[in-house]
Amino acid sequence: MNALAVIGRVVIRFLEHLGRVTFFTLTAVSHCVRPPIYPRLIGRQMINIGYYSLPVVGLTAIFSGMVLALQSYTGFARFNAESAIANVVVLSITRELGPVLAGLMVAGRIGASMAAEIGTMRVTEQIDALTTLSTNPYKYLIAPRLIAGLLMLPLLVLVADIIGVFGGYLVGVYKLGFNPSVYMSNTVDFLEPLDVISGLVKAAAFGFIIALMGCYHGFRSQGGAQGVGSATTNAVVSASILILTFNYIITELFFAV
């Protein structure tokens, strides 16, 4: 009897949460597409997400590309398939590691800062003050972040793809002794547009998820510094989990194509 009650409570909690997130998302999206929009605020967020995340994402990408080349050499050398390394590196980076690693890094960087900033605004009544100045907080705070996340992550991932492949190239050519032009042609020849496109679609989805979770948890935070702290944690954790979940879903969608 008691166990049933506990299960029921958990399910109800979950559904309640799901409903809130859905409602929040729909409201926020509806404000993204209705005027007025704030180009200045969108621009600021785009710089914050895109430009300032470049170092983090670039470093992640180059080391991932490098380690990928090394590791696949270990494996492929065992059945004399070393020539496939360039191909493995570029496919793994563009389809999988580029978007996922960039997404997770940006979730830590941007998701956390969004939740902290909006959460602080919430607990210091700044969001209430916005409404009394006839400014809709969804429009002013949330929409610019969602739009910027959606647009900037694909750009970041494109850069990460290039840097990651370059990392693989460095290891392939200077450590494993591949011929540079052969390595390059192996990289390019077997790459299909869909490989890159599927990665960019993932990136756009991840950018949206990161901004959404940062805003959602920040917006709902309550109870001072501690509340902002847990909002930040929740934003990063939920964004990371959702990224991995949607990574699978989107991969499966493209798998059918």
């Binding site: 900033e117 009544e125 700044q126 209430d128 003050a129 409404t131 100045l133």
Partner: protein, 257 residues
């Protein structure tokens, strides 16, 4: 009956969980009138203002602005009603990402779409009215003292020439001279510009000076409403105790010894 009251509140109740904060508030504020609400700390004065502004939703009761029931409004109409309001928050609630002058000009630029230069001029003029020099406009809110923040909040509340202004403790944290300057400013707003004012204060000197009528909130109800001149001869034990600031009387502070 002539014009409806500017604000009509009828039997408004609000609780937080098991805690009943407001248990049936009735109050009419007429056009151009200045009403002050007094009452002990934590009795729900700020909550009442937030219910009128729509920041909190009352559990039951009617809140009408110029005869319009605000609970039945669509989001857009609600925004239009809020455009008539100005609010000084108890905590000032300044936007800490914006310089002081943009805080004051915020409602002008966002809500009323005024140009930046024009809005800045108006903001600096309003800052002058609350006794802050032009240079203060370029500082960020974090660089101001508590009393200065309060005055910036006041400037922000009145900069948009609202029809109704809510002041949550406008003179708290100010020296007696500056408090009197603010009192005069509020009187100017009400008498010269015909603004309707609903204020909260603990400062009886200020209450006597700025109000036409005084209402006392105690245990979730307005237990006394009368003209400012009658507050000393109200014949109400609660009001007498509060006005004279005596620890002994019908209001029992819930202290544990």
């Amino acid at each position: 009956m002539s014009a409806p009251p500017k604000i009509h509140i009828e039997n408004v109740c609000k609780s937080f969980g098991p805690k009943d904060v407001l248990t049936g508030i009735d109050l009419d504020v007429m056009q151009g009138e200045s009403v002050v609400i007094i009452g002990g700390s934590g009795t729900g004065k700020s909550v009442l203002l937030k219910c009128i502004l729509g920041i909190l939703t009352a559990d039951s009761g009617i809140i009408e602005v110029e005869g319009q029931d605000v609970n039945r409004l669509t989001a857009n109409d609600r925004d239009d009603v809020n455009r008539k309001f100005g609010m000084l928050f108890q905590s000032a609630a300044l936007f800490d990402s914006l310089p002081v002058w943009e805080n004051v000009a915020f409602g002008l630029m966002q809500g009323r779409h005024m140009g930046r230069d024009e809005a800045k001029a108006k903001a600096l003029e309003t800052l002058g009215q609350v006794g802050l020099a032009k240079e203060v406009g370029e500082l960020s809110p974090a660089e101001l003292s508590g009393g200065m923040q309060k005055r910036v909040g006041l400037a922000r509340a009145i900069a948009g020439s609202p029809e109704v202004v809510f002041f949550d403790e406008p003179t708290t944290g100010l020296d007696p001279i500056m408090a009197d300057v603010i009192n005069d400013l509020i009187i100017t707003c009400v008498k010269d510009q015909g603004i309707t004012a609903l204020s909260i204060t603990h400062d009886m000197a200020s209450a006597r000076k700025i109000s036409d009528r005084i209402a006392m909130l105690h245990h979730g109800k307005l237990i006394w409403i009368g003209s400012a001149g009658d507050v000393d001869s109200s014949g109400n034990g609660f009001v007498d105790q509060f006005v004279n600031g005596r620890a002994e009387g019908p209001i029992k502070m819930e202290l544990r010894r």
